[in-house]
């Protein structure tokens, strides 16, 4: 005979037994007791089965070798004691027009009716191994099955989950040997000897039982029920000796899933659709067995003023346990109705209705993929430490930050800037769109030229920055920051459509690679790669570099001569390797993001998102030069006109400190002991021999302090940039 292992003891079971029936057949019980339902509604058969806590043993088929353990008797949570196994749970996505939950008579009829109407139906039933644990937006029905989790995407959900048998609430209702009438019938049918049976209310089917007349007062016994005590109409107590008590107090709709689906296309049929008639208000005993809440606890909550259903639930935790109110909700409602005089609605039901393992909860879920540039493998081969920056995997450093830094300042260096947002715009209204979107005067950008631009939102706050490069009268190329790229297309497209402008937009962020070639020897490197004539500062052309078709932008973020080489990403590796080879005797090195962040700081260039906040206006970031208020219109213009009337309260400033170390980014600024702001970027500059910082600084008496204290040391306000103030190196 097959056996399961219960508390380290083998127990025989019959084919078809649930774990619970196997235990009861052997004279064991998985819990301390309480009214068993054998329908998955109550918490009285929960145990740890094969390492999974809170398993409903009445719903779990017994299998040879299954390990069953009781939950801790002291009420502590049943935490796993062994490493988790079978963590990964597969998911299946299924699609249908109608999902029917429950395959009793009403559920089968509903499914048949839908099929007859030509609809594609998926029928689910816990008896068939599909235990629905929640309904989500969609509606999406999630069910646990033996093969993993089913995600059933339905147009309509029909809940046919039947009704729950009301458990008794009376002193002693936590004893063993108490069960619902249907549970008693099931156990009897399984061949389990129930001994002397006393029935309260409707008797169980096909079981000889003595009907306990009168009103239920209490159950008596030590750990197992020995008698039921009732009160007769005349007021006398009567004791009914027994081995088993069968409870037939009536039914209440099993409507948790229906209530979870409130607001979705979910409806109920059969008993689940019926309105609940409330049981009498209990006088004493445990109401919520999951959270051990008694009638006395409810009374105490009531006296403290918790008189609404949701408050009583939170104050007592009744209904928050493993059965999610299946057993106690009718009594909570009858309690509140009796005390307050009105029947209150059930508390809000939310997924999940059953305990899940983390693997089950995560089934079918994948974390958001972080894109990699076409040079990802090259970076890793060069020993780069990769990090997620701006939503991409990017090289933080190739190992020696200072070597990278000096390569840019004194020789030539390559940086992978493929992550920049890149967009083409053309059309008869392209110029009009950009004039409205950007605060700069776009019409004055000549074909072949580029301009640095801020992008503002309707509140006049800095949203992003980048370049506008003009190809022709009606065609432009835009760039955005790496972090802003994902938003940029939506932003531009939404405005274009809102204004009804005739434009074409092509987002090339993922299609094009981009390599930043920077350093005083850049021109020599590009000459070797085939660029015959250096570009002017802020000029752009389409040409070939090292045999790769490129769009070249002459600009500078590092403060040195710089070109961005935008090119089809399938050529990135060839271009990268060729440039590294051509620059070998020039001292070429690649630089990572860490180096780039420091180089731009020496030039005082902001990083949107690091040096800006959600309320950063051009005035606050000291970049009013980038906006042209005399334009007829641009997004954010009205907000700037309005906010410019308010006295300036803080500004992004440049600070210097004579000696290092550089304060941490985020370090607080103090002005004569008063909070004055915080550092957004800081760096001990090798080339300048001092600490340079960008920081948000408050105005005091309408003026910015000249000197503040940072990390206990004085820092002086200066004009940015810190490095090459005339910009001669970048324009060389």
């Amino acid at each position: 005979m097959p056996r399961v292992i219960f508390e380290n003891q083998p127990i025989d079971f019959h084919e078809g037994d649930s774990v619970l029936i196997a235990l009861l057949r052997a004279g064991q019980h998985p819990t301390a007791g309480g009214c068993l339902c054998l329908a998955g509604d109550c918490p009285h058969c929960l145990a740890t089965v094969d390492g999974v806590s809170y398993t409903r043993t009445c719903q779990t088929a017994a299998r040879p070798g299954q390990i069953i353990q009781r939950h801790p008797a002291n009420g502590e949570p049943p935490l796993p004691t062994a490493p988790a196994h079978n963590v990964e749970v597969p998911a299946r996505n299924l699609h249908c027009e109608v999902a029917v939950i429950g395959q009793g008579a009403a559920g089968r009829a509903a499914a048949d009716e839908a099929r007859a109407a030509g609809k594609n139906v998926i029928a689910l039933d816990s008896k068939h191994g599909q235990e629905v644990i929640g309904i989500y937006l969609g509606p999406l029905v999630v069910a646990r099955t033996a093969e993993g989790m089913w995600h059933v995407h339905a147009q309509e959900v029909i809940v046919a989950t039947g009704a729950v048998e009301l458990p008794p609430v009376a002193p002693g209702n936590e004893l063993r040997g108490i069960m619902t009438a249907r549970a008693a019938a099931q156990l009897h049918a399984a061949g389990i000897n129930l001994g002397r049976v006393v029935a309260i209310g409707a008797p169980p089917e096909n079981i000889p039982a003595e009907l306990a007349e009168g009103t239920l007062l209490r159950f008596e016994g030590e750990s197992k029920v020995e008698a039921v005590v009732t009160q007769t109409a005349a007021g006398a107590e009567r004791r009914w000796p027994c081995d088993t008590v069968s409870i037939g107090l009536g039914l209440t709709p099993r409507d948790t899933l229906l209530r979870i689906g409130n607001g979705l296309n979910v409806r109920a049929v059969g008993e689940a659709a019926q309105s609940a008639s409330l049981p009498p208000c209990p006088a004493a005993g445990t109401v919520c067995h999951c959270s051990s809440v008694s009638v006395a606890d409810l009374d105490a909550a009531w006296e403290r003023g918790f008189r609404e259903m949701e408050l009583v639930k939170r104050a007592t935790l009744a209904g928050t346990g493993t059965c999610q109110g299946a057993a106690c909700l009718p009594y909570l409602r009858s309690f509140l109705a009796e005390r307050g005089g009105t029947v209150q609605a059930p508390f809000t039901a939310r997924p999940v209705t059953r305990q899940l393992t983390l693997g089950e909860a995560a089934a079918g879920a994948h974390h958001r993929a972080t894109p990699r540039t076409a040079l990802d493998a090259e970076h890793r081969k060069l020993g780069a430490r990769m990090d997620r920056v701006g939503g991409w995997w990017r090289p933080w450093t190739y190992g020696n930050f200072l070597e990278e830094y000096w390569a840019v300042r004194e020789a030539v260096s390559l940086g992978d800037v493929s992550t920049l947002g890149k967009m083409l715009i053309s059309g008869p209204d392209a110029l009009e769109l950009l004039e409205r979107l950007y605060p700069t005067q776009v019409s004055t950008i000549k074909p072949g030229r580029s301009r640095y631009v801020l992008l503002l939102n309707e509140r006049g706050y800095v949203l992003d920055d980048g370049l506008i490069s003009r190809d022709s009268e009606t065609r432009f190329a835009l760039t955005f920051t790496s972090g802003g790229a994902s938003m940029a297309e939506m932003w531009v497209r939404d405005w274009a459509e809102s204004w009804g402008l005739d434009v074409r937009l092509l987002n090339q962020t993922m299609s094009l690679g981009a390599i930043n070639v920077t350093g005083p020897l850049t021109h020599e490197l590009l000459r070797r790669a085939g660029l015959s004539q250096p570009l002017q500062y802020m000029q752009h052309v389409r040409t070939e570099v090292a045999g790769v078709p490129c769009r070249l932008y002459r600009l500078s973020f590092t403060g040195e001569i710089s070109y961005e080489l935008h090119h089809p990403s399938e050529h990135s590796t060839k271009l990268w390797r060729t440039l590294l080879e051509l620059g070998r005797d020039l001292g070429i090195r690649p630089h990572g993001i860490e180096t780039l962040l420091k180089l731009r700081l020496e030039k005082g260039h902001i990083i949107v998102g690091q040096d800006t906040d959600f309320d950063s206006t051009p005035r606050r970031v000291n970049m009013e030069w980038a906006i042209k208020m005399t334009k007829p219109y641009f997004v954010g213009q009205q907000a700037i006109l309005r906010t410019n009337k308010i006295p300036l309260d803080k500004q992004l400033v440049a600070l210097e400190m004579a000696e290092g170390p550089a304060p941490l980014e985020g370090e607080v600024l103090w002005n004569n002991g008063e909070y004055a702001g915080y550092v957004t970027s800081s760096f001990q500059s090798p080339v300048l021999g001092k600490v340079v910082m960008l920081a948000w600084l408050k105005l005091f008496n309408d003026a910015l302090p000249e000197t503040v204290t940072v990390a206990g040391r004085p820092a002086h306000r200066v004009n940015a940039p810190f490095y090459d103030q005339e910009g001669a190196r970048a324009r060389a």
């Binding site: 079918g364 076409a374 092509l506 993922m510 089809p568």
Partner: protein
């Protein structure tokens, strides 16, 4: 082990009416990724679109493709794709598969999975 291969393609953004009225090269496969955009597979020759002088027509080499037999493809999609596949064949569809942006070209016996190169590594990892 399945591998993704770079697809030869063009991307064309134009007025929808211009896209509707254009005859594409015989061996090219036009995938309508948006009302105003077509990803034209198997096309590298210069494409002209006289119906829209402002059309943006750019060579596109960042898309990678992988054909899977129908049964294998459906088994993978059932695990990883929360949206319903089109029933008709051939058909084009696009959306998240294993939380990666994917385009699908569904033929009667097989499905072409199209992924942009930055997501290729993650997609392959999730396919296995």
């Amino acid at each position: 082990m399945p591998a993704l291969e770079t697809l030869t393609a063009m991307r064309i953004v134009a007025a929808p009416t211009a896209l509707d009225s254009t005859q594409w090269p015989q061996n090219a496969l036009p995938l309508r990724t948006a009302p105003d955009e077509i990803l034209l597979l198997n096309a590298s020759a210069p494409i002209s679109l006289p119906a829209d002088e402002h059309a943006l027509i750019e060579p596109e080499g960042s898309f990678m493709g992988l054909w899977l037999p129908m049964s294998e493809a459906l088994e993978f999609l059932e695990r990883t794709c929360a949206w319903e596949l089109p029933v008709a064949r051939p058909a084009f569809a696009q959306g998240a598969v294993a939380n990666v942006p994917v385009k699908l070209w569904l033929e009667p016996e097989r499905i072409l999975f199209i992924v942009q190169a930055p997501f290729a590594a993650d997609f392959l990892e999730r396919l296995r």
